[in-house]
Symmetry: D2
Subunit: 365 residues, 4 copies
């Protein structure tokens, strides 16, 4: 089904395979009047590009975005934005043995099971390259959110056993460390760890967090369209994510109510929560405070060790994956998480505009 | 917006407040030909009823379901099923002080922020009673899944610090222990813990798991409609859930690839995974093996201690909640998780039927 | 599939069969803050009740609506409104022969073809009684539209060969003539015609129109969600409607451009169309002028003549329908058309609120 | 909102402006296993290209389609198909005066009203060129339908006063006459008429029909998702269509039941309708017989006469449109109608697969 489509009012459809002609996204429902040029989107795409030779692949992925429609005289027109990125570096020799056998931890098997066959070139649609379309769309959503006063940013929380220390949190480090960690010390330790992992022909898992600041209260809908439910879906839809937490997340299950409730106090005429265990969302609706999300990412399944697997024709075999693969996905996935969150938040803000009749009356009068 | 609606083909709309006239659900898109009577639904609703006086409220919630439409001569007709549960035990004196101030950890504040005012009787729509409609619908979905050979069951994994021991796993205990734990020993320990918590006017968090067995491979769609993404949304939409894990969940972030990949081997002509760290889903698509989900639930926010909060008119106040409240939500939420998973799985199975052209040809020939 | 669900943000799900326990609708996404009581909805339902013994059935359909949820202290809360109408007059003896054979012009055959069997009592879900849920929901939509300054009204344009004369248009007659014609003279002629038709054991077709006044410009979306496209769907979804026209409708196909274009002129600072052949919509978007829709309704298929048909077991048979049936549907369908238009317009207005970024900024600042 | 997106399971998103860089469509939800190459799509696109210099514009619109994703080794993979058509012949000088004033009968005014400004180059997104994306997607849907045994074809019924004679119906003429009429005599008369119209600097309306043959019974859903309702929406969404009829359409409103009911008889073990006034759909569900649809298309609003209009700044002005415009839209719109019908039918067939539980069981066993 239409699994590559996301959103109700701000709706995106991504397309493209790892080794096809191009990848891209159509954004349908973008508000008119946003000043937009390719450079704004390129800045986001550059964050998911392979960077440091140590922790990301050395493949050359240029990912130059082209805006094909939806802009006139520098502004969005309200009609669909079509964004395209040509694939330039696909090499046909890379995936020979993958055609015949299933890589453990990859979606090779399940694509065959679902569709009867699959595009095995570099993982096809199940490749991480699929996220280029998400990031291109997320760049537009982020830009709109910025104009609405909402700030969304993600970063690496941990790499294997190495975690950031919140007391050293430095937002500027996110974009300048190869790990996307907001803690330069932890980043150095993590890089050392990754070097070891790589030497051992292995890979590492990690975790990432995303913060939303400045979101008005009242965003999100009760019951099934809770803001946290939609954020969980958005983040879990990123390949390799196996767990999503909101606020204090998993910790709440061993807590008591007296520890976990966030007391309320007035402060300069505003309601202020004394703590934020809930992570900014109550009953699925934003309360105006900081929202925090965490995602746990599995280690890159492509490792350079011999692994047991089976062939398409049903025979046991040993597989040794070739090619260039990141020992960790997280530093490049951070911008994907940020984009998925931005897309979800923006759609929820658009939907929320008709929640109160008197605000509709004011809008249309 | 339409936040109380779930599903694409098997679509449900729940309605009703804690202390209104009734609650219910409309199921639109149920296949024709299912033998169904009220008793099938009632059995599920009874599982979320208050039970043991120790850990659940002593409120009398009869929750008798009535099927108002969609059945003819004992079978579903393909047209909407309307299921209604009359509220019988609402007592108007229970919620006096809640009208004027916001209970910490509840959605009182955010409903006011979103809608300009709220139905404060027992939490209104944000009450746990809202889940009665989900469970009624989930009972129907589960019954269909059973006929398709799919088995879904949930249980309590932990209550506060007390966790089940998998070596003692006993499925029959789920329905017979007041904790919904599949481990009778752990259940007794947990009940002791809850007694302490209750004496201290406090409440406890906990965790629950859901297992899907017999699901065909190929269910779920790439990119945004991944099966795990939709399951995460479904489970996170249950009030008080703050984290969702698939398979090994949070643990993967500190692992290496060599530990986390599931090797494949042929076994009696079938592909068999040697381990199941992935939890039965690869690339968002079921691989035919067992699916495992975990949810972390916060402690009941209603505790009998004095808490700091503010009034609607913006003044600091101290609140001491009255009434009857469960010291833990999990044992009653287990059936809600099971139902949300069943609803999600069934819809995905319906959508999947057109994934391959030759299967469509065979269907229509 | 979920065919009984309509709308994106203001979403309704209707349910119920002709001779089941009850019929109803859930409205999910209604804005908070609308003053609403049962009498407001009842007034609409009364318009689709059988009235004059001459042209509508003498069945007693009380159609008393009950609001089960979504209202608090007289106002909508933003959560789902559940509206229910108990069936009171179903008589089991009415439909004996219908169980075994297919009534020509009815959906008996196609329901069997689609679902494998059907609820044959009074047509089940394909009965005109299904529209009670639409009207209950439409009453709420209309009430909101009124507060937004939008006026929607429908009426009978023709009954068989008898058409209204626009020069005698009298809106007050719509609710006071048994034909729902806004022309008392034509109404009398039509009643005479219907008397003849009835004597001849026959039935009559007719047409109806709906007018929207006060709709702001800019409502509706380009390409597939054009306002006229959604209106056409909404109106064509009413049983027995076989054609839908917008503005001058069918006439345009034999016209020239010079006759059909609507010239624009400034008038007191406003843009005014000199004619309105387009019917108030250009490129699928409202232009701020009057919108006109027309629907053609087939004659009631239930007639008292012997008709050729076949049985479920595949034998030719002659059928003579018993029971009480209107010789014409149109006078009772007028309020259904009005409601379907109101539901469509309101949803489009809600969706339109995020079309311009600067209006979003103003809303959220 | 997401107005450029159509369909639930077979979902398309079109994009692109008349004079932008490119136009295209993303098809999300296409079944895997369809043999597809660019030539299959090109054949459909060629049918909407300007052809005869007499009745269509002399603009050179090459409309070469490129498949960017979703195909592997000649077959669809189940993942999104991205189809792109580069704009090659846009000339910037064509639309000077349109920037400042509103062309009567065009969407210039309403786009400005909705979005605050518009892309005025050649009509931007409201241009007929927008339909290239629809046709590219429709070509894919048609190809799938053919494999499922469903045949969809459209043709011109009338041009101004000139109508085809059904007794001369010749399907082969549809693709070989410049009018797309299935009646060569009528086509010649129509061409003469168009010559006159053109000489008088005017344009002409017309009508078109679409036939569906071989559609299984049971397709379409009750109430709001009736097959005829969705077909009406699909066809009304084509620019310039002002009326849609199903079966005998408008004629039914002046008929009696005894004339309009279609009697049923057994014939070689099959149920056969003696007539087909209903046009193959009863209660919104296909009955297995031939489906007939008719659309009325307004005259091209661009005419070479001086017309009254207003400027963006609110002044009266006289406008004389320059450039090259078809005197009639219908012959090129015929393939658009055919494609919109194909897209609608295919999506309904996919949705229908889960209507009966025992057919689901058979599918999944």
């Amino acid at each position: 089904m239409a699994g590559s489509t996301l959103g109700t009012i701000f709706r995106i459809s991504t397309w493209g395979e790892s080794h096809g002609k191009a990848l891209g996204v159509v954004i349908d429902g973008c508000p008119a009047g946003l000043a937009l040029e390719e450079a704004h989107i390129q800045a986001f795409l550059d964050r998911r590009k392979p960077g440091s030779s140590l922790i990301t692949t050395t493949r050359r992925e240029e990912d130059q975005v082209e805006i094909l429609s939806g802009i006139f005289e520098g502004y969005t027109t309200g009609t669909p934005l079509s964004l395209m990125i040509r694939n330039t570096s696909q090499r046909s020799g890379d995936y020979g043995n993958i055609a015949e056998c299933y890589r453990p931890g990859h979606a090779d098997l399940t694509y065959d099971q679902k569709y009867g066959f699959r595009d095995y070139r570099g993982g096809g649609r199940s490749s991480g390259r699929e996220t280029a379309g998400r990031v291109a769309a997320g760049a537009v959503a982020s830009r709109i959110l910025k104009q609405l006063g909402v700030d969304v940013y993600a970063y690496t929380r941990s790499i294997g056993p190495v975690e950031i220390d919140d007391s050293r949190f430095d937002r500027s480090a996110i974009l300048s460390t190869p790990t996307a960690m907001p803690d330069r010390e932890a980043s150095l330790t993590a890089l050392e760890y990754l070097e070891t992992v790589k030497k051992e022909s292995d890979s590492s898992g990690g975790s990432m967090e995303c913060v939303i600041e400045g979101l008005p209260s009242g965003i999100g809908d009760p019951v099934f369209e809770k803001l946290d439910a939609n954020l969980a879906k958005a983040v879990m839809s990123i390949g390799a994510v196996k767990a999503v937490e909101i606020g204090d997340g998993c910790q709440v299950s061993s807590r008591r109510g007296s520890e976990n409730n966030d007391a309320l106090r007035m402060c300069d005429g505003n309601i202020v929560k004394q703590t934020n265990h809930a992570g900014g969302i109550l009953g699925g609706i934003s309360d105006g405070s900081r929202i925090l999300l965490r995602a746990h990412v599995k280690p890159t399944p492509s490792i350079y060790r011999t692994q047991q697997t089976v062939t398409r024709s049903g025979e046991n075999t040993d597989l040794c994956i070739q090619g260039r693969h990141d020992p960790i996905i997280v530093p490049r996935a951070v911008v994907v998480m940020e984009c998925m969150v931005a897309l979800t938040i923006l759609d929820a803000m658009m939907i929320n505009m008709s929640a109160q009749l008197d605000r509709m009356e004011k809008f249309y009068k």
